[in-house]
Amino acid sequence: MTRYIMTADLRRCIGCQTCTAACRHANATPPGVQWRKVLDIESGEFPDVRRSFVPVGCMHCADPPCMHVCPSTATYQRDDGIVGINYDLCIGCGYCAVACPYQARYIVHKAEYAYSERAGANEEARFDPARMSVAMKCNFCQDRIDAAKETGLTPGVDPEATPACVNSCIAGVLAFGDREDPNSNVSQLLAENQFFRMHEELGTDPGFYYIFDKK
């Protein structure tokens, strides 16, 4: 079995938003729709203050609440752990967006462009009407992973088979790979470091791991 997961090393993250920009490019999302985003979180009181940068997005949960509430079976889970959305089935009801504890879903009802009502050439070239009024979210750049089955490339190792956010990260924060393969890069990282998962207490078994220190 395969379970694709992502790890984020919080020691390294600087909140630069390069991953977010790369995701916007790779997935041609409209302004403000950030399947991958990085939170800038402040805690404590002056002068004992911490500021943390935390990449978030769809956690590709093993037990995804968004899927359970979907009335149209649009949200599905693949054998490799990736949670996806079938736009043809999605009715845009928004239940999934409410059910997701990670606020990872977006629904856009009106085409929006960077500068005006009119699309730029790049926006025009990539506009997908199937995405209007349906739920959208990170899919771990699943097209690349699917293509890797043909090419023999390894997701998380070969850039062509790796999510855009991971490829773009300038501080080496993000990694991607198969949690079930003990020799994968992510399994090695998790074996060597301490980590947590967000809202683990909710029982969603998220597939996004936050590394914070060596073991």
Partner: protein, 911 residues
């Protein structure tokens, strides 16, 4: 049935900030650029794993923005000013060149220099040399033209790390300074925002270092991105960094065992043992005039370069010697009892106790002592490291500065203390320690090593602008007078833009006493620069620009500076045009490569509208100015990137002919291939288009300058600054001979050993002088700024994606202020506030944060746009309209800082 798209990935470089270049590819689908990705094929040679930062992702929106200028325009309203509609009307390229050509011919007929001695042509570009990487062959046009004044600044001296540029080059060939991050274990960062300003390579290196356990302590009034990623944040009072650093020196010299320092390094590789005379100059051998030290082996004074000595560091020694002062004044001393430079230093730092620092910096004395002790402990004095088969000292501690710490009053003292602290533990220019990146003032610029030459006193030669009576330039060659006023600014092609670039603007309005009149240039070229919003006192500065009679702006869109232009020339964007640049070696901010070579940017998509490749524009300007032959000669000399003819190859252009951009870059690419391979290869433009870059490996030994100094028997010029003292006295003499006394306060900065002054008090006093006795009550807060990775240097404020990305980084959207302070004033998150100084006001939403001192406010950007499309509607605050251009706030290097006293009030009823 849909047809498969034609898809290609085109290699490019990104040089939108001083931390570049980075390498990426642009994906093109059916002729449309759609996606930016790192250049994965470069990950083995690029020190940031071949990645590019968030800024690079803006280029696609920039290219397809509806706000671009797509054809040349000319001004129809002869009146210029912010309130005037320029009445730009479209013209053909021919008509635009006709207008500019006529003006250029007229100027050349009058003479290249005006009646006041200033160049009639001026040119301004954005900072850090970045525009050079996008202006194609325009440098060859400027070289062909003759004298050009580059001194109308757009933030130089402020938005750079100015003091570091000058003193860094003096002391260790360090135009900028950084840790040897891959080997460093302990970094003290004073306002250094490396995670925002260090680009991809900075972020990558520091991320790696943090993971392996490097400890970084961040000193700054607010908790920046870099502070967030550091082990500890020390919220220091603004502009008191020098006090903390001098207190560290105090702890090292007065409280720690002397043997914990690197005594052999101090004795043999610095000027510490040099003996000081009663007039503050070195005591010298009467015959050779060489500085003397006291040799404990011979128990006698000997010239500094005597072999087999054990130089004394402490104590008093009686000797006969001469002392040579300013303007060759000489004193003879018989039986004088002298102290060493080191001894003088110990006495100088005696008052700077941690208890004193606590009062000055608002940092507990225990913190000063702990950090000083950690600094020495982490230094591992005595340790060594093998680098490419050579054994070098290993000192994994370093100190890094950001701007403001590095600008204006107090910055010299910071740079001094940082360099001194490195010397005390033997950590300057060695693995793990404090390194310079590149040279911009010293020559040759090929490598740092090549610029290292010994001077008569055993230190590195430095190309000071002359201050002696025979050679001092009483009449400045350019309007900011760097060659007259700032000896340290030297006279390289970079020097003009490094001097006091606000002087050009200030003196145009009103020349100081006994100063030559400063007049507007007859023609001004500007590119990727917007001083109307990016410098200080922006309202006044815009008025000065409006006085320029003829402005040619290479323009991407309409902005606040080209609003005053006579002709707008729309150039292609980065991914629509061609240019080859050098990459590799070592360069700011932390670009340390194991390779060197060349990278290409190229047209991935067709130029939009009637825009042109900058190289073709430059060629046409050369033709219209009657300079084609000189322009081609400049290209052959390498003005655009690489010499087209050398010993191993000859790809010279025929100087009598006009060449199109593709031909010029074909020749350049072939020369680059030949240079890298010793003439073996001659691959041209097609090869570079396919491969993107070509490199060859270099030794990492080139990163560490200590080795070069040691081989050449050169000492680091620490701790005593006899040379600066002499230069300062001579400069004072020259100025006083001209009846100029308005620089006297600045002249006090030139001394043998620096002192820590009340640096915040300089700003406070000026506030009171300008705004009255109750000014500090009226303006009770310090306003500072912080670097933005998303925006800095990028000329991308009109790019939606950058606004969206910056929106997620705290502080970009408004006025950052301490939560308790804000709530105490009834200000909630998002409330509109007005921030005022004695110069002006700005407004924006309040951003409440626990991560900022209670006496400090922060504004990230420069968003005073009133013309630039998209940006003008952002309604963000800008500190530039609050900061004065002030002689009193200018230090001896011609720098001042982005800091000002302000008041804040809530604007009722506005959210």
């Amino acid at each position: 049935m849909t047809t498969a798209k034609a898809v290609k990935k085109v290699p490019q470089y990104c040089y939108q900030c001083v931390a570049g270049p980075d390498l990426y590819t642009v994906k093109v689908e059916d002729g449309v650029a759609t996606e930016i990705e790192p250049n994965f094929s470069a990950c083995e040679v690029h020190p940031g794993a071949g990645k590019c930062c968030v800024k690079a992702f803006g280029i696609i929106q920039k290219t397809y923005s509806p706000n671009r200028l797509l054809q040349p325009m000319k001004r129809s309203n002869p009146k210029k000013g912010r309130e005037e509609d320029p009445g730009f009307v479209p013209v053909s390229w021919d008509e635009a060149f006709d207008i500019i050509g006529a003006k250029m011919q007229e100027i050349r007929a009058k003479g290249l220099v005006n009646e006041h001695g200033y160049p009639r042509a001026a040119a301004s570009f954005g900072g850090g040399g970045i525009p050079t990487y996008y202006m194609g062959t325009f440098p060859a046009f400027l070289a062909a033209w003759g004298p050009v004044d580059f001194s109308f600044g757009s933030g130089q001296g402020v938005s750079c790390t100015h003091s570091e540029h000058l003193y860094g080059e003096l002391w260790h060939r360090a135009f900028t300074v950084c840790p040897d991050t891959p080997n460093c274990n302990y970094v003290l960062s004073f306002g250094g925002n490396i995670e925002a300003s260090g680009g991809v390579v900075g972020a990558w290196r520091h991320g790696e270092a943090r993971e392996r356990g490097m400890k970084r302590i961040q000193f700054e009034p607010h908790l920046s991105v870099t502070g967030a990623a550091s082990a500890e944040w020390v919220p220091i009072r603004p502009k008191t960094d020098a006090a903390f650093l001098f207190s560290m020196v105090h702890v090292l010299l007065h409280e720690m065992p002397r043997e914990s320092l690197d005594i052999p390094f101090i004795k043999h590789h610095t000027g510490s043992p040099y003996l000081i005379g009663p007039n503050g100059f070195y005591l010298r051998d009467p015959t050779t005039k060489k500085p003397l030290l006291w040799d404990l082996k011979r128990n006698a004074a000997v010239p500094f370069d005597t072999v087999d000595t054990d130089p004394a560091l402490d104590g008093s020694f009686t000797l006969d010697a001469i002392e040579v002062g300013a303007d060759e004044q000489t004193w003879t001393h018989n039986g004088f009892t002298a102290e060493t430079a080191f001894g003088k230093l110990i006495a100088r730092v005696q008052p700077y106790t941690p208890e004193w620092a606590e009062k000055t910096c608002d940092i507990r004395e225990g913190t000063v002592r702990r950090i000083a002790a950690e600094y020495v402990e982490f230094a591992q004095v005595g340790a060594t490291m093998e680098v490419d088969g050579e054994t070098l000292p290993f000192r994994p501690v370093s100190i890094q500065f950001g701007r403001t710490v590095n600008n204006g009053w107090g910055a010299y003292e910071c740079c001094y203390a940082r360099t001194l602290l490195a010397c005390l533990i033997g950590g300057l220019e060695v693995p793990g320690g404090t390194l310079g990146t590149t040279v911009r003032l010293n020559r040759p610029a090929t490598t740092r090593q090549a610029s290292v030459k010994i001077n008569e006193d055993g230190f590195m030669y430095y190309p000071m602008n002359p201050t002696d009576k025979a050679n001092w330039k009483a009449k400045p060659a350019v309007r900011n007078a760097h060659d007259t006023m700032v000896p340290l600014s030297a006279n390289s092609p970079w020097s003009t833009a490094l001097g006091p670039t606000h002087f050009s603007w200030m003196f145009m309005k009103e020349s100081p006493e006994n100063w030559p009149k400063v007049t507007a240039p007859d023609i001004w070229f500007c590119y990727r620069t917007n001083p109307s919003i990016s410098f200080w006192d922006t309202k006044e500065l815009s008025k000065r620009i409006a006085e320029f009679p003829f402005i040619v702006a290479f323009a991407y869109n309409h902005d606040e500076t080209n609003h005053m232009a006579d002709v707008l020339l729309p150039e292609c964007t980065d991914i629509e045009s061609t240019q080859l640049i050098r990459i590799g070696g070592s360069k700011f901010i932390e670009q340390f490569w194991d390779h060197e070579g060349f990278a290409l940017r190229q047209p991935a998509v067709k130029p939009a509208g009637d825009t042109r490749d900058f190289t073709d524009i430059a060629t046409e300007l050369a033709v219209r100015a009657g300079l084609l032959e000189k322009y081609n000669e400049a290209l052959n000399r390498g003005s655009a990137c690489v010499r087209l003819k050398a010993e191993d190859y000859d790809f010279s252009l025929d100087t009598s002919k006009r060449h199109d951009a593709q031909t010029i870059w074909e020749h350049t690419c072939r020369a680059a291939s030949a240079e890298l391979t010793g003439g073996q290869a001659s691959d041209g433009l097609d090869w570079f288009k396919e491969n993107g870059l070509r490199t060859r490996p270099i030794s990492r030994l080139s990163w560490y300058l200590f080795r070069e100094l040691k081989m050449k028997g050169i000492r680091f010029e620490m701790p005593y600054q006899e040379r600066l003292y002499r230069v300062g006295v001579e400069l004072g003499n020259r100025l006083h001979e001209q009846g100029i006394s308005w620089w006297d306060v600045q002249l006090e900065e030139y001394g043998g050993l620096p002192k820590v002054l009340d640096f915040p008090g300089i700003w406070e006093k000026e506030t009171v002088r300008q705004a009255g006795a109750d000014a500090l009550q009226q303006f009770p807060y310090w306003l500072i700024t912080s670097r933005s990775m998303q925006y800095a240097w990028g000329s991308n404020v009109g790019v939606q994606l950058m606004e969206e990305m910056s929106d997620s980084v705290r502080g970009h959207n408004g006025v950052l202020m301490n939560t308790q302070v804000a709530l105490g004033m009834g200000i909630q998150e998002g409330d509109m506030v007005e921030v005022s100084s004695y110069v002006g006001t700005t407004r924006g939403p309040a951003v409440l944060s626990q991560g900022i001192r209670t006496d400090t406010l922060l504004m990230m950007g420069q968003f005073d746009h009133w013309v630039t499309p998209y940006a003008k509607d952002l309604h963000k605050p800008s500190m530039n309209s609050l900061i004065p251009m002030s002689m009193a706030l200018t230090d001896s290097t011609g720098s001042s800082a982005d800091i000002v006293r302000v008041g804040v009030r809530k604007l009722e009823g506005m959210h």
